[in-house]
């Protein structure tokens, strides 16, 4: 009963490097989300997807890209990493969307860009 799985749990990047944060869910959820959590700032929505092949920008999409080729996977791509992207990243999913039911969150990826 895995739920929402994020990998890696920790990562250190150098400025300008790229990486992909992986997120997969085994609950057949239509909706998936990427949030970042900065200290004292709450969570901010980066991108979300309402189904395979459909993605949309959230509040803070700059510097990130996403794709949704399958129902299960929703990877987040960082191109040209910057110190401002140092944060904890959370992936979440739900079947009917964040208004109609609760979100299920992964355990997070702690990213440092140095």
């Amino acid at each position: 009963n895995a739920g929402v799985t994020q990998t890696p749990k920790f990562r250190i990047l150098k400025i300008g490097q790229s990486m992909t944060l992986q997120c997969t869910q085994d609950m057949n959820h239509n909706y998936m989300y990427w949030y970042r959590q900065d200290p004292g700032m709450g969570l901010k929505l980066i991108y979300y997807s309402v189904g395979a092949g459909i993605t949309d920008k959230g509040e803070v999409p700059n510097g990130y890209n996403v794709s949704r080729s399958t129902t299960e996977d929703f990877p987040l791509r960082l191109e040209l990493a910057a110190p401002s992207q140092t944060s904890v990243y959370f992936c979440a999913s739900s079947y009917f969307g964040s208004t109609n039911e609760k979100l299920f969150f992964g355990s997070g990826t702690q990213l440092s860009v140095l």
């Binding site: 949030y35 709450g42 929505l45 509040e59 964040s98």
Partner: protein
Amino acid sequence: AQSVAQPEDQVNVAEGNPLTVKCTYSVSGNPYLFWYVQYPNRGLQFLLKYITGDNLVKGSYGFEAEFNKSQTSFHLKKPSALVSDSALYFCAFNFGNEKLTFGTGTRLTIIP
């Protein structure tokens, strides 16, 4: 900008006492309001939501929240705190879309 505010970064409550975690909202229209909890090194977990209807909403783990339109508040409450309630609590809102906006969080510590 439309937002929710959690005026207290830290709340300390003695075990067995009632607890309140405050949330106020500054949005136009009729928002949907939520509470989530985050335990150490874990993702957020849903506690409860208010969409319409009864102003007192009951949720998981014995928590409840009261929607007060005149005071634009949605405070989280529990009649008797447990040490296991110690965690980070987030208030959030949206307008029936997927753009759920979170507050900055309140760290609740229950003192044995």
